[in-house]
């Protein structure tokens, strides 16, 4: 359940960013999570609620935007949408896809009062 430690990281970053900005409360945190990023969203939101308790982000909404996974075929050079790391290229059938998008674990913005 690495989602718990990721949430600790999120809170750390949010607290750092709130410092010296007279933030009373963090209302919402906007994340971008890649489809291949090994994140169970329900585990992340559940963990966040626990970890945020007693912090400036208690009660904040965690808003997650999914980033679709894309790969570049080493063999035929096309960009394709992928669902799994071991998908073959839909054009040539080779297992030669380099993941170029879909690993994201980013905090984009936060809404504060």
């Amino acid at each position: 359940m690495h989602e718990l430690s990721l949430c600790k990281n999120i809170i750390d970053i949010v607290e750092e960013q709130s410092r010296n900005r007279s933030v009373k409360k963090v209302k919402a945190i906007y994340l971008e999570i890649g489809e291949l990023a090994l994140i169970e969203k329900s585990a992340l939101t559940f963990s966040f609620e626990l970890v945020a308790k007693g912090t400036i982000a208690e009660g904040a909404i965690l808003s997650i935007t999914d980033v679709p996974a894309k790969g570049l075929c080493d063999y035929c050079g096309v960009f394709v949408t992928i669902k799994q790391r071991f998908d073959p290229c839909v054009h040539c059938g080779n297992f030669s896809l380099k993941v170029i998008q879909g690993d994201e674990l980013r905090i984009k913005t936060m809404e504060v009062e």
């Binding site: 960013q17 900005r21 090994l38 790391r85 297992f95």
Partner: protein, 264 residues
């Protein structure tokens, strides 16, 4: 107390405890014009950025001290500790060796390694299901790892979470035993994607289990075509020479990068 993470480790670690460590270069926060009460700040930061910063500190330190740091990853029971129990006596006359043991509870593995006579430190992660770079930084200082050491970091037995956390290692080694099933790479693709070397262990049991080595390697290469593979049996001393040779080559590479000469 560590000012970065709030841990109570009194030891110094590889990062600077004296100043805020977050790199703000990538966070151009600004508040949008706000006639309303709420403000929006742009953060644009990787959730793992703190861990990655510690990992870079570790990597810089390892590189400076000529330490070959190897992150050993697998399910529980794949034979990681047994492999180390065999490897250490075979190589400790040629190299300095040190071990960081990661487990949720107990120091059973650390005790086994201690019996081989090399420095070892146990990290108990408690509820944590993986080691992180900050813990490894502290553990490295506790060990007082000498220069030109092979540092084995035995991660918590788990094929999912540890794949996300860079520890600053030189190489990630995933260990799989033939009792686990041929499709393990497909079931846990992220771990095999990040690994540099796959060790297939317990090959002495091949006659008793339904495990096709070639198929397993093919599956792993679908995910990571560059993955190197070694098959061995730690308990029965089969194939260990290939593993030792791999270690020597990695050590040599690390050393010659800095010295343009070999270590042997």
């Amino acid at each position: 107390m560590c000012g970065i993470c709030g841990c109570n480790d009194q030891e110094s670690a590889l990062h600077d405890h004296g100043k805020e460590s977050l790199d703000h270069k990538h966070s151009h926060a600004h508040s949008h014009d706000s006639h309303e009460e709420n403000r929006l700040f742009l953060i644009e930061q990787d959730i793992l950025s703190k861990n990655n910063k510690f990992a870079e500190d570790n990597r810089r330190y390892f590189s400076g001290q000529k330490i070959l740091a190897l992150n050993l990853l697998s399910s529980p029971g794949s034979g990681k500790t047994t492999l180390l129990e065999k490897t250490i006596p075979a190589l400790k006359n040629q190299f300095n060796i040190a071990v960081i043991e990661g487990d949720q509870q107990t120091d059973c593995d650390a005790e086994r390694i201690k019996a081989t006579g090399v420095p070892v430190v146990q990290i108990n992660t408690g509820k944590g299901c993986h080691l992180d770079a900050h813990q490894v930084g502290h553990a490295t200082q506790k060990l007082t790892v000498e220069d030109k050491t092979i540092l084995f970091i035995e991660n918590v037995g788990n094929l999912v979470c540890p794949s996300l956390f860079d520890l600053g290692e030189s190489q990630k080694i995933v260990i799989l035993s033939v009792t686990e099933g041929v499709d393990k790479p497909l079931k846990y693709p992220d771990m095999f994607y990040v690994a540099n070397l796959m060790i297939i262990n317990k090959i002495d049991l091949l006659e008793y289990v339904d495990f096709n080595v070639e198929k397993c390697i093919e599956y792993a290469h679908r995910i990571n075509p560059d993955l190197q593979v070694i098959t061995l049996s730690a308990t029965k001393n089969k194939g260990l020479e290939n593993w030792y040779e791999w270690l020597m080559n990695e050590h040599k590479k690390l050393f010659s990068v800095h010295h343009h000469s070999t270590a042997f």
